[in-house]
């Protein structure tokens, strides 16, 4: 992807995030300047030593130069290590703030955005692009600026020594830099290919290791190895090409540097024989030629990082300019007391496909409603509108008498609790999974909620700080469900939306869940999406949705007694039928 960085946004991003660290930034530049000054000074000390020795100076003055050389050399190393350290610190601090801001922005975007992106993309946006920027600050500032300054310094000293020398050194640096920067992109494009080939190779291995039983039990070992040869051939071809290209770059650089050394020797000999410079100065030329190697290499290399960081900043700006489709600026707080739910002529479209068509109903406070209907009929959409993951396109949704769009986000979240079918868990402790990392909730409250959910004993055995694996590793489906119940008990909402778990559960867990469900429904308004007819036996009312319309709504007993009702017909079709 090629995009043009607009200078203002680029500068604005860097300024915003670097300004708070201006003290560190100044320290960084001081360390850099110190290191560069010393690097330039060390060869000058050598020059003085050689000339003084040849002129027959006293030993003590030679020793003094030697000591100065030693001190300058060690100080230089200290300064450059300090600069690298401060640079890294600065880079991480500034970009951690950027990561935070980006994550906050993305968390605030509506579900429409999130359903169209994958977690992998989010990792790339929040971390990948930002890390490119971090490298840019840490390495570009330290290495590129430092290297550039050093090159300029060498050039200045060379001109002072002899203008001919200045021209030679300047021409040499410019020539080598131009060639290397060009060649570098050639080596880098191959490196990207190489990265892809390795990702393919290790991806193949990882998937096959995970599926080792499927492969072995289905006798596919030989065929898998055959496919692996294809992947290896691709890896080999791409890696060897990339490495060769790198070798070409590296050998060219090396040739240029050694040619530079030979040139430096020749220039020294020639200028000395013409009487322009001393032997010490001839040695100085060789030293400076060796001094410019690293900065030249680094400038060539960091130019690539610069491009990558530029791409990162462009993508970061693009993400920050996306606005949430959900206006969450409401401030209204709900009055205390039981809450009902009402839909007034609510319509909703998803991707221009009508999902709900003018749905109206009223659920009195404290009523348990079983929501039935075919998959894709609109059941889940109704629950998502009540929990305001989406906004209706037309019509109004009321909690009590308040339009949910005017509610403040905390008030809404406090009032509506949701148990989804698949429980989303973090690779974190049980406590963190219950509280979503909110440390302010005390153990007693957590344990009380766990007891109500029927998980108290289980958690007491393990401890609240037991780590769960990612995607709920180490948890049975039943335990994950009960954990989701405990989350809602902690929240203690007035309205509960329950998407009935369809996971296979053994009888014991089923009964635990039934108990927890019973406690969850007490004194709350409940909308339960049911997949089995047995589940709605606890419901007071039944709503049946079909093709985006509410086709039936009434008391469960009345509907069951009316043989013409859909509910009665479903009952007659036999228990155990799966409606999903």
């Amino acid at each position: 992807m090629r995009e043009n960085v607009t200078a203002p946004s680029y500068r604005a991003t860097l300024t915003t995030y670097l300004w708070p660290y201006r003290a560190r930034l100044s320290a960084l530049f001081l360390a850099l300047l110190g290191s560069i000054g010393l690097q330039l000074a060390v060869p000058l000390l050598l020059k003085r030593f050689v000339d003084a020795a040849l002129a027959g100076a006293v030993v003590s003055s030679l020793v003094a130069v030697g000591i100065a050389y030693l001190v300058a050399g060690i100080l230089n190393q200290l300064f450059s290590a300090l600069a690298a350290y401060i640079g890294a610190d600065l880079g991480w601090r500034a970009t951690n703030q950027l990561r935070h801001d980006l994550a906050r922005h993305l968390l605030g975007l509506d579900m429409g955005y999130h359903t169209s992106t994958t977690p992998g993309e989010m990792i790339e946006r929040v971390d990948g692009d930002v890390t490119a920027v971090a490298n840019f600050i840490a390495r570009f500032v330290v290495r590129l600026a430092g290297s550039g300054l050093l090159l300029v310094g060498v050039l200045v000293v060379s001109f002072v020594e002899s203008w001919i020398l200045g021209v030679v050194v300047g021409g040499y640096i410019a020539g080598v830099l131009i060639v290397l920067v060009r060649m570098r992109s050639y080596a880098v494009s191959a490196a990207e290919e190489e990265r892809e080939a390795s990702a393919a190779l290790y991806g193949f291995i990882e998937e096959r290791l995970a599926g080792i039983e499927d492969i072995r039990a289905n006798g596919a070992g030989e065929y898998t190895m055959f496919r692996f040869v294809d992947v290896m051939r691709d890896f080999y071809a791409r890696t060897v090409t990339a490495w060769r290209r790198r070798t070409v770059f590296w050998i060219s650089a090396n040739t240029a540097f050694w040619t530079g050394d030979a040139l430096a020797l020749a220039a020294g000999v020639w200028l000395h024989q013409r009487g322009t410079i001393t032997v010490g100065a001839a040695y100085l030329i060789l030293q400076y030629m060796q001094l410019v190697r690293t900065p030249i290499e680094q400038v060539a290399q960091e130019m690539q990082e610069l491009q990558k960081a530029a791409g990162g900043i462009v993508r970061i700006d693009a993400v920050r300019s996306i606005e949430s489709g959900l206006d969450e600026s409401g401030v209204v707080v709900l009055p205390p007391g039981p809450l009902g739910v009402a839909f007034e002529q609510v319509s909703f479209r998803y991707d221009d496909r009508p999902v709900l068509d003018s749905v109206s109903f009223r659920i009195e406070p404290g009523t348990v409603v079983g929501l039935l209907g075919r998959t894709g009929g609109g059941k889940t959409t109704i629950t998502r509108l009540i929990s305001r993951l989406y906004d209706a396109d037309e019509g109004r949704i009321l909690l009590g008498t308040t339009d949910i769009r005017s509610l403040s986000a905390p008030a809404l979240r406090q009032a509506v609790g949701v148990v989804t079918q698949d429980v989303q868990l973090f690779a974190a402790s049980i406590r963190q999974n219950l509280t979503f990392f909110d440390d302010s909730i005390g153990d007693e409250r957590l344990m009380a909620a766990l007891d109500t959910a029927g998980l108290g004993e289980w958690v007491r055995g393990l401890g609240l700080d037991t780590l769960l694996g990612s995607a709920g590793q180490g948890l049975s489906a039943g335990e994950a469900q009960l954990l989701a119940f405990a989350r809602v008990f902690i929240q203690d909402p007035r309205i509960v939306i329950l998407d009935e778990p369809s996971s296979r559960l053994d009888p014991h867990t089923e009964s635990l869940i039934a108990d927890a469900t019973h406690r969850l429904f007490r004194n709350r308004t409940v909308v339960m999406v049911a997949h089995r007819l047995e589940s709605v036996r606890v419901a007071d009312e039944i709503m049946v949705v079909d093709a985006g319309r509410l086709v039936e709504h009434g008391g469960r007993d009345e509907l069951a007694a009316d043989p013409t009702s859909r509910y009665a017909r479903l009952l007659a079709a036999g228990t155990g039928a799966d409606l999903a």
């Binding site: 050689v50 020795a53 030993v59 030679l62 020793v63 130069v65 030697g66 030693l70 050399g73 060690i74 190393q77 690298a84 610190d89 951690n96 994550a103 968390l107 579900m111 999130h114 990792i123 971390d127 190779l201 991806g203 193949f204 291995i205 990882e206 998937e207 096959r208 290791l209 599926g211 080792i212 499927d214 072995r216 039990a217 289905n218 006798g219 596919a220 070992g221 030989e222 055959f226 290896m232 060897v240 490495w243 040739t255 050694w258 030979a262 020749a266 020294g268 000999v269 032997v279 040695y283 060789l286 979240r413 406090q414 989804t420 973090f426 979503f436 990392f437 296979r504 053994d506 799966d578």
Partner: protein
């Protein structure tokens, strides 16, 4: 096998190529001895001025010729090494994977996928890096000996004096380089934590939103970022420390040369040329000393890396892991020939006294005996955790188990190798698909005739899904393709099993991902084929009703077996399972 022996074994892999690279690299490392002498000669003659016996120009020309010629050798050495390296890493990875997928007996990967992949990537590279160090070792040694000889020839006392700080470099590098590696690892883990957390947060975005938990989640995110910053700084600190030591040892050495040399220079025994030689050699000598320190650390690491490879490929003989049969990395490759072994018709599978224990102490199975005859439908049922899935895997030899297996009355020595298509095929509880086309996933690399493929898809009730997929059977699925739902994955795996046309079909629970209706359809379609024999784990009523025989498992043992009616009559456990709402 000692680590050095291991290194030599690896060198023998492509001895010719390695020798070529070795000669080239020895020359590359050794030539700077001469270059230093030439630089010394140039300055000696410049310092002598009019009195010089020869012109400095000869030395300058020689310097240029050697310095540039050396780059030609570099090219030869590098190309040889690039090929050696890449062939060798792939060879080792091939050997590892082949053992896991094709070796006789039961093969399980006990390490987590991440750890296992890191053995494939990092441990294998450690081995080859060790060979690279041997490659460099010769030249490093020649340079060190040569340079020290030249320096001692000039001034033995001064040489001894500057070598002392250099010896420190060996010790410091040796002790720091494992530390640097562990800091790197820490840094990598900290990064994985950050990226993992972002992935999980946005994977659970609706839960985060519903709980209004953005603030605490962000606080946790900041904490992880802060931890990574610290890890990064520790890494930077150690790296810079090591670099400083190396550079400073050279600086200290050079300083000593200047301070001590000042006196001898006045005395006329130590010239400017000699000074230039010392100062040219010192930085290279220091970095070579660091190399020696690193070599010692690498030597230890290589032993550990090879042990990890052995641990991953349980029971593999070293000769298998170091096998040298070439991987066809270039040129034409022929498809593997389908070995159409004439299998005798299936009559029965008898399993006697089957026992298997999990290494982590979880419920295994003990002393299970049963028989499946051709045309039968046998179901294992029981509570969650009763050992049903373990039992299926033990029957197929996927996990190491004790017992006796008989196929058509004859005992099987290696059930893992024997119980494969065209005899048996298997669908696990959580089947894995690979990032490839759907067709390749179903065929698993075999050549499946179109008719057989169509039938397999239809039997698995996958046909409506294939119709909906834009690319049909050629649709790429997995990491970089379409993400299939759990049910679609399960049915694709079933199609994969049907496509093998195996005589005995082994299913782990289908109900975890399929709804009652779809699963029922699958069984109806399957039973319309008369010749089917199945061994199934399930607790769905519709499946239990079809069973010829049911084995009820409880805590890893068969509590009872018989027909559904018999069991409902006499087994309380069976009645409990039957009335559970699922």
């Amino acid at each position: 096998m000692s680590t050095l022996r291991l290194g030599l074994e690896l060198i023998r892999y492509r001895l010719g190529r390695w020798t070529l690279a070795f000669i080239a690299w020895t020359a590359i490392h050794a030539l700077p001895i001469w270059l230093g002498v030439l630089v010394g000669a140039v300055f000696e003659r410049l310092a002598d001025g009019e009195a010089a016996v020869a012109s400095p120009w000869t030395a300058v020309v020689w310097f240029g010729a050697i310095a540039i010629g050396r780059n030609g050798i570099l090219w030869i050495g590098d190309i040889a090494w690039i090929k050696y390296w890449n062939e060798q890493v792939l060879q080792l990875r091939r050997n590892l994977l082949r053992w896991l997928l094709e070796a006789p007996g039961s093969r399980t990967v006990t390490a987590s996928p991440g750890q296992a992949v890191s053995t494939f990537r990092d441990d294998v590279e450690d081995l080859v890096e060790y060979v690279e160090n041997i490659l460099d070792g010769g030249g490093v040694l020649v340079f060190a000996v040569g340079a020290v000889a030249v320096m001692a020839g000039i001034d033995p006392r001064l040489t001894l004096l500057v070598l002392i700080p250099l010896a420190l470099t060996v010790i410091l590098t040796q002790s720091l380089s494992p530390q640097i590696r562990s800091r790197r690892r820490e840094m990598r883990h900290a990064t994985e934590d950050v990226t993992g957390f972002i992935g999980e947060t946005f994977g659970a975005i609706s839960a985060v939103k519903l709980a209004d938990a953005a603030e605490p989640v962000l606080a946790e995110f900041d904490r992880l970022n802060e931890r990574r910053r610290r890890a990064a700084l520790r890494d930077t600190f150690l790296t810079e420390l090591l670099r400083s030591i190396n550079v400073n040892m050279a600086t200290v050495g050079s300083g000593v040369v200047l301070i001590v040399g000042a006196g001898t220079m006045r005395a006329g025994t130590f010239g400017v040329g000699d000074l230039a030689i010392f100062l040219t050699y010192l930085p290279r000598l220091t970095s070579y000393m660091a190399f020696v320190g690193d070599w010692i650390a690498q030597h230890r690491r290589t032993g550990v890396a090879f042990d990890r490879m052995r641990a991953l490929a349980v029971d593999a003989p070293d000769s298998y892991l170091l096998d040298r049969t070439p991987v066809p990395l270039a040129g034409e490759v022929a498809d593997p020939v389908e070995t159409v072994s004439d299998v005798e018709p299936f009559e029965s599978l008898e399993v006697e006294g089957l026992s298997f224990a999990h290494t982590d102490g979880a419920m295994g199975v003990s002393d299970v005996t049963f028989r499946v005859a051709a045309g039968e439908f046998v179901v294992f049922t029981g509570k969650i955790g009763s050992g049903k899935s373990s039992l299926l895997r033990a029957v197929l030899g996927l996990v190491p188990a004790q017992g006796t297996w008989r196929w058509n009355g004859r005992e099987i020595a290696d059930p893992a190798a024997f119980l494969v298509p065209p005899r048996t095929a298997y669908t696990s509880q959580v089947p894995r698909l690979f990032s490839d086309s759907l067709a390749n996933n179903i065929a698993l690399g075999r050549r499946v005739p179109r008719e057989r493929m169509r039938e397999a898809i239809s039997l698995a009730v996958l046909d409506p899904d294939v119709e909906r997929l834009e690319g049909g059977l050629d649709t790429a699925i997995g990491a970089r393709g379409v993400k299939l739902s759990g049910g679609q994955v399960q049915r694709s795996a079933a199609a994969r099993m049907f496509a093998t046309e195996a005589q005995l079909l082994v299913f782990d629970d289908l109900s975890s991902a399929l709804d009652v209706h779809t699963e029922g359809e699958l069984w109806t379609r399957l039973f319309s084929r008369r010749d089917v024999t199945c061994l199934v784990v399930s607790h769905r009523r519709s499946v239990l009703q079809r069973a010829d025989r049911i084995l009820v498992l409880n805590d890893g043992v068969v509590a009872d077996q018989g027909s559904l009616d018999e069991l409902l009559e006499r087994s309380q456990l069976m009645r409990d399972l039957w009335t559970s709402p699922a």
